[in-house]
Symmetry: D2
């Protein structure tokens, strides 16, 4: 693995490295950790890389790695830069035959996302989009139970993602993370909706297997002086007949990272909370609620495949992240071994999810500006 | 107290009687429990009333009770009939000098509500609308903390009320409660929005002290064959600058009576769940979340006034109901004693809340039918 | 009902009255609320009793009430005085043909308890001991599921009752409740073990249907200057083969009234917490945990009989208390009607529970003083 | 790092490897994964090790690694074999200058533990005992708050560790883990008390800073046909004046891995649950309970040092494990760099904890067999 971005002090880069390292399947062998060559070098050295594999920028990295013998070069790049700097390295990597792991939202614009999608299709390379929450075993279990029809036809979906970390104008107080996320030149046309709204939308579609078709959004910038949206909600309609509500806000003072989803079908319901991720509640109308737990033998094969510890030994966010990396790595290994990966067991969010995520941003922002109640979700 | 409705087998009538009896302040002395004279008599006898105080209908009750000496007659009526049968007895009671306790939604139409409001104003009599959830001590505490500015200026309000009991077409399977609640000739123009949406809207306005000014609603009838809405959600704007989301659904399979509210201000947030009513969570951005608990000495006077037991001895729904009755009875007693009741301590939902509730129904249903995104909340 | 004790300001007397009033089955008609005649009168008047039915002491009350015509006199007394003043009025009531409701621990000494038991046997009168927690519907459900063998043979019982209200020497700071409870001349030979240890022991035996046969106790007085125990724990063995641990402490700073029990059998386990009383967790080894909830149709008949509201409308401590009164009143009514009460459905803690409670106090205190590890539980 | 034990299919070996890999500080470079040379080789190859660094047994490994140049050889061994096979490799490693990470309980007998302790003292080498639960940041925070006196003088400690996985005779049904843990020739003189009782005892002493001085234990073998204890409880006294109860059972049907601890001091209390490890409850007598959360800026430096993600991004069991490895590795690195490691910040359980753990096993088993109520805790 060669990393692009994620130099000293970056939050998400470190998470990616821990996640990638967890299962002993992936080795960080190279990196362009910053566009500042010195900073890149220092970061790489701190991570124990050979100087020869630390590059001053991603172009050099891709060029030089490609010149290495096949069994020595990196197999894929992991792109953990801010949104505006996703597309270029991803495209270049694909063009040079490298598989890609990439942070969400996938690109800066929907158009870029479509280009990436076309390139993935053209090259047949793998692209993994790190919608972390789709890596949790109990999310897999939820998706499985809906797929199996255990809850009946799905009617209602409530997904919400309240955070509080932008309830003050932190971007003006030296918070670097806040600074780029609230800056349209770095983040794109959406703030909260791009950062966390895309997670919420993906989770809703991922678990229900239904796609958003129409929406009616209220998008706001609550904190004075901020440029991008920091708050929003949308009424939703799905292609399978479900309807629901999506909430994403970064001004819910005191909230940490409280992504939650509830889904109700004709026969039963489910409830999952990211902050207590090893528990999945299943509700029935005429019998007791059931508490499904990670690591238990009664789970579906796909959920168990994504567990590492026995029940009661909690797994968390880094493990969910690591599941994306592990499934990606096993799929890649299968390909290198000329074997067929099990697409269900080794499933991970891909370039199509990335295109939908960028389309979600466009559609939800447009709806927020529209006087029409309902607007169609278009790509 | 004379009761109108609430004959044998009625759910809410029994709750009213238990709530009224709890504190030894109110005596059930008369009743017209049904428009069927025999059924009324049987119900009254079962409740231990003297035959002379059991009436075949509310008109007779009001007429006869008025003829009793002042110290023997009922002081007020409690109206626990279905929605369509609220207005007439309430108006007659007021016209004859009786105070009124009345179930919500207050009337069948907004116009009736306005007439009642005018009559209350004209007569100066007391009217208590049983928005039960406003009787919980931790709801009082939440309201108090917002009033005191402890959370700062309020920005976001999320109120939701999922139930699952109408996820099947129960009205066709002999469920009496379901039958009248889904029948527009009994319930009025709204189903779920009238039954539980009004509770959610009241709670949001009650705690925040802000009034809904604009809304954008998605109102649906999910279960085929049903006449009224059984599901809905609305984006909200408030007069104090807050915005939010209201969810009310009766098709959330497996949900019991899961009314919840979260409110976020510039300084902090709060979270309250009806199904665990003795706990109020207060969230802060830079210090630990606090768990306020009913019965604790650190609560506000108004919250403590509405507690009956020490902390850790849970109070519930009937006690919340009893708080409305107790505050109403103590206010009435003060009036009979020519004393001034403390309006804050003895506060209970009144006819103005009833008018707003009926207006909420009109507005939310209208918005649900509108192609405009936002409609103004009008009365 | 005639009340003995429970004058102005007394906590538990007021709870008894609310509980007795809740279902409209019991009327407070007389009382000797204090041994101070003036205070008794004032308390009775405040409660709306006729002066003629307010007595200066319990002896006068029992004597005078007996002289009233049978259909006018009280049917039973409710004794809510401190422990030392339980036996005399209870015995006198029984001797004069009045049924008895009495607070726990039943008497001041085990010998008194045995005398009461003999008198109840002799007279055939009803005696209800207010082990409140046995009145909760989910405790009934737990007992039912154990009885039905659903958890298999019971192996382990963990019952604990931490409170924090005596973590300081409150009895010296004007706390009246603390004053008598920590005074051996008022409370008896035990403090925490008498006040809450008896509840814990009763709950363990009540749910499991097994009786404590041996125990090994560590009994302490933690707060300097206190006379009675304020803390204790005991290792337990039961006659049905189970073993367990009982914890009762009043110095667990910050704890409210956190009675909890967990029971494990060969097939499954259960967990119940008084502070969230409407939920009963059922644990299985190879399938998801189940959450049983008060008011749900799938509960046992005895649990449902002890519910008043639909699921999701929480009931609490006063309702649990009211269940004891209601079952007692219905049993009494059946007797007055020369009918057979259903002993399972209308079950309430009785004089035998009172004898065991007093024996528990003797045994646990003796074990606490013993250098032997195990001592037999003797009566 | 060279690993001893942890071949294919072993649970805890894999956890150690994931934990060691997480922070990029430790590289698995060699291993003797099994005493079966073939199995060791296969395991090592699967892990991507060079054949030259995979050894047929730990003696060979230690001998051969020692012969490598200092900058190429392993720095420490990680011993993840069953209990009976801890001492020999640990001693040999120390004698040959290798630092040691070792599973708990540290040895097969107390005497072995003392020998290891003496050898560590003699050599000055580092030994890390993997009491995983001491690696959780909120356990560190709990310990810190007690140390700072925030809860006042500690009075009560309740620690419990219920599991259900041995509620059947699984050792006879092909469960390998169950087989060795219930076999005295592999596990030592204790079953549940060695496996999980030692964790509970360590946690109690770790958080309170007090040492157990006396105990009274009830030790049982509940499941017929089993050789070692599968259940136990002990009354405890501590050297700082606290008292408490320890529960450890593996027959609590349906329980996963429910280690919990509650500690109460004169001023406040705390409660921590391993299955929801990122939350620490702090209880106060006269103000609201506080919820401390992992990743929050208000935590102590030592707690924050042991967090990897921002609040609301849950960390779990593997991260706690990784904290032991990271603190060990950073301490080792400091030593290699001739620097002083911060002993508080980089603290990890050591050989003294191992000696106390083995003494706990001896003492608790002896007390279980004793007819004396209290026995002194001796080493």
């Amino acid at each position: 693995m060669g990393m692009i971005g994620g130099g000293k002090g970056a939050f998400i880069g470190a998470v990616h490295r821990k996640a990638a390292a967890m299962d002993g399947l992936i080795e960080l062998c190279s990196g362009a950790f910053s566009n500042n060559a010195e900073k890149s070098l220092a970061s790489g050295q701190e991570l124990g890389l050979a100087d020869s594999r630390i590059y001053p920028d991603f172009k050099t990295m891709i060029e030089k790695e490609k010149q290495l013998p096949e069994d020595q070069r990196m197999h894929f790049v992991s792109i953990v830069t801010p949104n505006f700097a996703h597309f270029e390295p991803a495209m270049l990597a694909l063009e040079n035959g490298f598989h890609v792991v990439i942070e969400k939202p996938m690109t800066f614009t929907l158009d870029e996302a479509k280009q990436l999608s076309a390139k993935v299709k053209e090259t047949g390379l793998l692209l993994c989009l790190t919608h972390t929450y789709a890596g949790y075993p109990m999310v897999k279990q939820a998706r499985y139970m809906v797929q199996q029809g255990m809850l009946g036809k799905i009617r209602k979906v409530y997904v919400e993602y309240p955070q509080g970390w932008l309830s003050q104008l932190s971007e003006k107080e030296g918070n670097q993370q806040a600074a780029w996320r609230t800056d349209p030149s770095k983040s794109g046309k959406a703030g909260a909706m791009g950062d966390i709204g895309t997670h919420a939308a993906h989770l809703a579609e991922y678990i229900t297997g239904q796609k958003i078709t129409r929406l009616s959004a209220d998008i706001q910038t609550i904190v004075p002086g901020r440029q991008l949206d920091d708050d929003g909600a949308a009424l939703l309609r799905f292609d399978g007949g479900a309807s629901g509500v999506l909430i994403a806000t970064q001004v819910a003072t005191g909230e940490e990272n409280n992504l939650s989803i509830r889904v109700y079908g004709e026969k039963g319901g489910l409830s999952w909370h990211q902050m207590e991720p090893n528990t999945l509640e299943i509700l029935w109308q005429d019998k007791p609620k059931e508490i499904y737990r990670a690591g238990q033998g009664y789970l579906s094969p796909v959920a168990l495949h994504n567990c590492r510890t026995p029940a009661g030994h909690p797994e968390g966010y880094i493990e969910a992240f690591a599941n994306l990396y592990r499934n990606f790595a096993l799929s890649l290994q299968a390909r290198l071994d000329h074997q067929q990966a099990d697409p269900e067991l080794l499933e991970f969010p891909d370039v199509q999810d990335g295109v939908r995520g960028m389309a979600f941003i466009d559609n939800v922002i447009a709806s927020g500006k529209s006087a029409e109640k309902w607007t169609d979700f278009t790509i």
